[in-house]
């Protein structure tokens, strides 16, 4: 209430009348039509699980973190999910620092209901030791700028952050197998959360008489509206949550119409979020590869043509010098990888597209490693969008080798030519099956 009061105080009677009159001709003050959404931009931060959403003028940041805790007594084998919202005073003059106002609590609870009750995040997979240790996922939402419709923007920020969040892998150890060992991200690749569906919140504002409904209100329209309805739907057409906390009464038919419009918009927004998350995942995978420069060459090409570079021994020193600890352990992984079974190879072959080649070191024309076109990398990445890159697969990609023309010719058929291909590496060695020791 305080927030709405602050808005109405700022707004003059003339402004209010203008908004209402314009709506009679289906015009909104920012030029949109009644059922148009504002422009949505989803960006990600450096860390996994941080997102930044801009919906028109509304700016929200989301951040996901995890912690091992004891589960609730009545749910011993489920992890927990909690949503915390912070309405920063810089976002709106009516927000106060300190104790959350009613609207802040409502915002957090609407998003929480949409995620928790509809089982969007799989909490059973967050259990480590039943009754003792489960992962507690904490979503922090910071409102930086209130341009209206905070619920929708904050919900998208929460979803984007959840999709890109990676929790550390942990295993049971110790004498009795009850001790939990949490592996740091350099040792074992962190895992993404299992998210079954994306509940998208769509807010409608009822302005003037109840036949005037607008979607995605700006803060001006929020100051004038008589009631608000937030419908949380997913792309499958399920209603996950609805919040109409009082306000003007509306006919049941109007509500059903709003829900139908919301299901269309939800599909739209889901597509946008997935696209943004996909491109983030691609970039993330790429940056991982760039961290391991001249790596071991384990090439997966045509059947049974597995080549291991002789450079392995020669470049090991180079490797040790160049790579960080993470890289070093990765090269160990890679060696182990090289000795893996035929089965593994065929599996990897299937999972990485045939023409997949890694793409590091585009700046060094004399490196033994040839650069690969980025699109191929994306293709392989897109094969597994929401599964964590398993250590094996990552070792595969980071071994990103090239530069053997034997391998290259094998792949060249499907690979696109870039300028970098024209730069021939200095030393080319034809390695045949003689180095096929790892084929076993």
């Amino acid at each position: 209430m305080e927030q709405r009061l602050a808005n109405t105080w700022r707004m003059t009677v003339n402004e209010k009348k203008f908004i209402e009159t314009a709506l009679h001709s289906d015009l909104r003050i920012d030029g949109r039509r009644p059922f148009d959404y504002r422009e949505l931009t989803v960006k990600f931060g450096r860390e996994d699980g941080s997102s930044e959403v801009q919906l028109g003028l509304t700016h929200v940041m989301g951040f996901v973190s995890s912690q091992l805790v004891q589960p609730y007594r009545d749910r011993p084998n489920e992890g927990t999910l909690s949503v915390y919202t912070e309405l920063s005073p810089m976002a709106d003059p009516s927000f106060e620092a300190g104790r959350p106002t009613e609207s802040a609590v409502e915002l957090g609870r609407v998003i929480d209901r949409g995620l928790r009750e509809s089982r969007a995040v799989d909490t059973e997979s967050l259990c480590v030791v039943s009754g003792k240790f489960v992962w507690s996922i904490r979503i922090d939402l910071h409102i930086l700028d209130n341009g209206g419709n905070l619920v929708d923007a904050a919900n998208i920020a929460a979803l984007a952050a959840l999709l890109t969040f990676r929790r550390p892998e942990c295993s049971l150890g110790g004498e009795d197998g009850q001790e939990v060992i949490v592996h740091p991200p350099e040792v074992r690749e962190p895992l993404p959360l299992i998210i079954h569906h994306l509940p998208i919140a769509i807010t409608f504002a009822f302005i003037g008489d109840e036949n005037t409904v607008v979607i995605d209100p700006t803060h001006f329209e929020e100051g004038v509206m008589g009631g608000r309805l937030t419908a949380t739907l997913n792309a499958n057409g399920d209603v996950c949550a609805i919040q109409k906390a009082g306000g003007d009464g509306v006919m049941q038919s109007v509500i059903m119409q709003c829900l139908r419009i919301a299901s269309v918009k939800a599909a739209d927004i889901t597509a946008k979020i997935r696209k943004a998350v996909d491109s983030y995942n691609t970039e993330r995978a790429l940056s991982k590869i760039r961290r391991q420069p001249a790596s071991v060459a384990v090439q997966v090409t045509e059947p049974n043509q597995i080549e291991v570079k002789d450079f392995l021994s020669k470049h090991k020193e180079k490797l040790m010098l160049k790579s960080e600890e993470g890289g070093a352990s990765h090269s160990d992984d890679m060696e182990i990888e090289a000795q893996s079974s035929e089965q593994d190879k065929s599996r990897r072959r299937d999972s990485t597209s045939k023409s997949f080649v890694g793409g590091p070191l585009s700046w060094d024309p004399y490196s033994k490693v040839k650069v690969a076109p980025v699109e191929k990398l994306e293709k392989s990445r897109s094969d597994e969008p929401y599964k964590g890159e398993s250590p094996k697969l990552l070792a595969d990609s980071s071994t990103s080798l090239l530069s053997d023309e034997k391998a290259a010719t094998g792949l060249q058929i499907e690979k696109e030519k870039t300028l970098k291909d024209a730069v021939k590496p200095k030393h080319k060695r034809k390695k045949k099956a003689s180095t096929n020791t790892d084929a076993s």
């Binding site: 609590v105 009750e117 109409k244 009082g246 049941q252 139908r260």
Partner: protein, 241 residues
Amino acid sequence: MEYVNPEGLRLDGRRPLEMRQLRAEIGVVARADGSAVFEMGNTKVIAAIYGPREVQNKSQQINDQAVVRCEYSMANFSTGDRMRKPKHDRRSTEISLVIRQTMEACILTHLMPRSQIDIFVQVLQADGGTRSACINAATLALADAGIPMRDLVTSCAAGYLNTTPLLDLSYVEDSAGGPDVTVGILPKLDKVTLLQMDAKLPLDTFETVMQLAIEGCKAVANYIREILLENTKQLEFRRGV
């Protein structure tokens, strides 16, 4: 777990479309301007209204309408296990907001500028549907206080378990994890003012469940009108009319 057995009876012996027993009493808190007790089965709620009176916090005063404040709390002894800190947790804050905005929509606030109306609702026994019971109790209490309203506000909840829509969920059915749709309507105007839902439901199933809840609300409205009529007759009698 089976919430509707093959004969079509629920855990407490009701049919799927049957509401729990309603009981209401007006004028229970002598000090308040209006008060009421509302029972829906085992859920018992007491509401007290203070107002219209002078605004205590001048900064919140509105010059052309009344300020409505609401506080929802559950008594420590209302649930099975004694609760530690029932006030001012996030759930209570949200329900207070919801009840306030629901009642605000039906009170004719522009008739009482620069004044304040306080609604205090306390849950004495919680067995599912506390939100609805609170709104019904607040309506009765507001009528008892003589505060002008557009229409009564009545509320009822419905759910969907074992592929059957169920009216007026009890606590066991509510905590089953299935959907819970709470609806508040203005019966004469036939408008929906409160609508809350959690858990997942396909769109057409949701429409059925919401329709069922609205029917429940209308039944509650009939009962409330009876109670108010009875109360008015009592008042007339006492005044010797």
